[in-house]
C-alpha cells in the first residue's frame, strides 16, 4: 500500500512536470509563430544574440569532443572489425553511429552543460532579483521576452551544431582510418558518403531539434521554478542539467524506437 501510494505520487509529480514543460513550450511557440501575425514583435535580435551564445560559442569545445568521439568510435570499431578482416568497414561504422546517434547526443550534452544550465541560472537569477516581476509589471510577458528567443535559437542552432559534430566525428574516424587502417583521406571520405543514407542524417537532425526544445523547456522551467534566495539558483541549475540529460535520453529512446519501427515498413 505504502509503496503504491509513493509510486502514484511520483508518477503524478512527473506528469505535472511534463505538463509544465509542455505548457511553456506551447506558449513560446505561440509567441514565435502566431503572435507575430497579430502585430506583436518577433524579437529577432534577441534570438540572434541567443544563437551566438548557444551555437557559435559552443563550436570549439563541441569540435574537440566530437573529434575525439570519432577517433574512439573508430578504435573501438576496428577492435571488433579486425577479427573479421573487415577493417575497411570502419568508416561506415563511424559515419552511421555518429549521424544517427552520437552526433545529436553529444551535441545535446554539450549544449545542456553550456546553455541549458545558463538558461536556468539566468532566469533563476532574474526571478530572485525581482526582474521577472519587473517585466510583468511593464506588461511584458517573460515567456515572450525571455523564453521564445531561446527556443528559436535552439531550434535553429542544434541541427547546425549536430551537423558540425557529425563532420568532426567523421574527421576523427578519418584520422584513425588514414593512420591505422590504410585508407587515403579522400578514400575514407568517399566510403563514408557511400555508407550514409539521407535518412541517417535526417533522423539525427529531427532528433536534434526535439532535443533543443527539451533542453530549452527544462532550462527555462527550472529557472521559473526558482524559489526565493540566491542559493536556490544553484539548485535550479543542477536540476536543469540532471532533468535535461534524463529527458534527452528518454526522448532519444522514444524517437529511435519510432524510427526503427517506421524504418522496417
Amino acid at each position: 500500500m505504502e509503496l503504491t501510494v509513493r509510486i502514484g505520487r511520483a508518477t503524478l509529480a512527473g506528469l505535472a512536470y511534463l505538463g509544465g514543460l509542455a505548457r511553456l513550450g506551447l506558449r513560446a511557440a505561440y509567441y514565435a509563430f502566431v503572435a507575430p501575425f497579430r502585430g506583436k514583435p518577433m524579437r529577432f535580435q534577441r534570438a540572434v544574440h541567443q544563437s551566438m551564445a548557444v551555437g557559435v560559442e559552443a563550436l570549439p569545445i563541441l569540435s574537440l569532443i566530437s573529434f575525439f568521439i570519432g577517433v574512439i568510435l573508430a578504435l573501438q570499431g576496428a577492435y571488433e572489425l579486425r577479427k573479421f578482416g573487415a577493417l575497411n568497414y570502419v568508416s561506415s561504422a563511424v559515419a552511421i553511429s555518429m549521424t544517427r546517434e552520437l552526433g545529436p547526443l553529444i551535441t545535446a550534452i554539450v549544449v545542456i552543460g553550456r546553455s541549458g544550465s545558463a538558461f536556468a541560472a539566468e532566469i533563476g537569477t532574474m526571478k530572485v532579483t525581482e526582474e521577472i516581476d519587473a517585466l510583468e509589471t511593464m506588461a511584458l510577458d517573460p515567456v515572450q521576452f525571455l523564453v521564445m528567443p531561446k527556443f528559436l535559437a535552439m531550434a535553429l542552432m542544434l541541427p547546425c551544431l549536430t551537423t558540425w559534430a557529425d563532420s568532426m566525428g567523421v574527421f576523427g574516424g578519418a584520422l584513425f582510418g588514414v593512420a591505422g587502417a590504410g585508407f587515403t583521406f579522400r578514400g575514407y571520405l568517399l566510403s563514408t558518403f557511400d555508407a550514409l543514407q539521407l535518412r541517417d542524417i535526417t533522423t539525427g537532425l529531427i532528433k536534434s531539434i526535439v532535443f533543443g526544445g527539451t533542453i530549452t523547456a527544462v532550462g527555462c522551467y527550472e529557472g521559473f521554478r526558482t524559489g526565493a534566495g540566491p542559493e536556490q539558483v544553484g539548485r535550479s541549475t543542477t536540476s536543469a542539467v540532471v532533468a535535461s540529460i534524463f529527458l534527452v535520453i528518454a526522448v532519444d529512446l522514444v524517437f529511435t524506437a519510432m524510427f526503427y519501427v517506421l524504418g522496417r515498413g
Binding site: P41, T129, E130, E131, A134, E136, T137, M138, A139
Partner: protein
Amino acid sequence: MNEQIPPRNAAPGLEPETVISVRDLRVQFGDREVLHGIDLDVGRGETLVILGGSGSGKSTLLRVLVGLQEPSGGHIHIRDVDLCRATPAELAAYRKTLGISFQGGALFNSMTVAENVALPLREHTSLEESTIQIMVRLKLEEVGLAGFEDYFPSQLSGGMRKRAAVARALAMDPEILFFDEPSAGLDPIIAAGIDQLILRLKEAFHMTVIVVTHELASAFLIADRMVLIEKGNIIASGPPAEFQASTHPRVRQFLDRVAEPEIEDELDYLQLLTETLGAGRRPRGSKVR
C-alpha cells in the same frame, strides 16, 4: 495605449475620484495569512504613504496592487477593472499605466541604465529612437543620474540603482506610481531630492502615488494621507496632521520611535556584550520605555 481613461471629476472640491479601491483583502502564503482584511481607497492625484514595521506586509500589499500576487480573498478595483477577474488584456492595459520601483530596484542586470529606462518605451510605444534617447536622458536627469546612461546596474552604488529604478518607473509617464522604500539607503540630500520629485509629479501630472517608506520626515512631507500597517492589519489611517496628533498607542510608538518592550532583554544582553568586549557603549538609537 488605447485603454479608456475615465472622465475626471469636473469641479474641484467634489469627492475625488477613486482610482484604487481595496476591500477585505487577504493574502496567504501557504497556511500563513500575512494580510488580514485590508480596506483601502486611493483617490486620483492622491499621495498615500504606507507605514509599518518590517514584515508587516507592505511590500506584499504593493505586489497585490500591481497584480503580481494573487489575493486569497477580497476585492481590488483599479478604476473600473476588477483586478482579480481581469482578462490578460485588461491587466496589460492597467500595467501600461503604472510605474513601480521595487524595494530591491529590480533593474535588468543584463542591460545598461539607459536600456533599462528605454525598455518600456521601446516595447510599448512607436516613438523614434532619437525621441526615446531624449526621454531617457530627461528621466535620468530627473533623478540625478545624467551621464550614467552606459553603466550597467552592477557598476552603480546601491543608492544609484534605487534612483535608476525610479527613473525606469517614470519612463512611461504613468498615472499611478508605486514606490517601495524609494529612499532607503540614499543619503539625506538625494532622499530629499526624491521627495521633491514626488511632489513635483503630483503637482505637474496629478499622478497618484503610493509610497512605502520608513522615513518619517519624508512621509510627513509628501503624504496626503497615511496608513499604518501592523502585522497585516491597517491600524490607523488619516491625513498627516491627524496622524501627528493621534493618541493611538501603536501610532505613537511608531512615530516616537519607541523600541518594543520585549527588546529590553536583548538590549541588556547587548550591553553586557559590549561591556565585556571593553567598548562600554550602549547600542545607538535605543530608547527603552
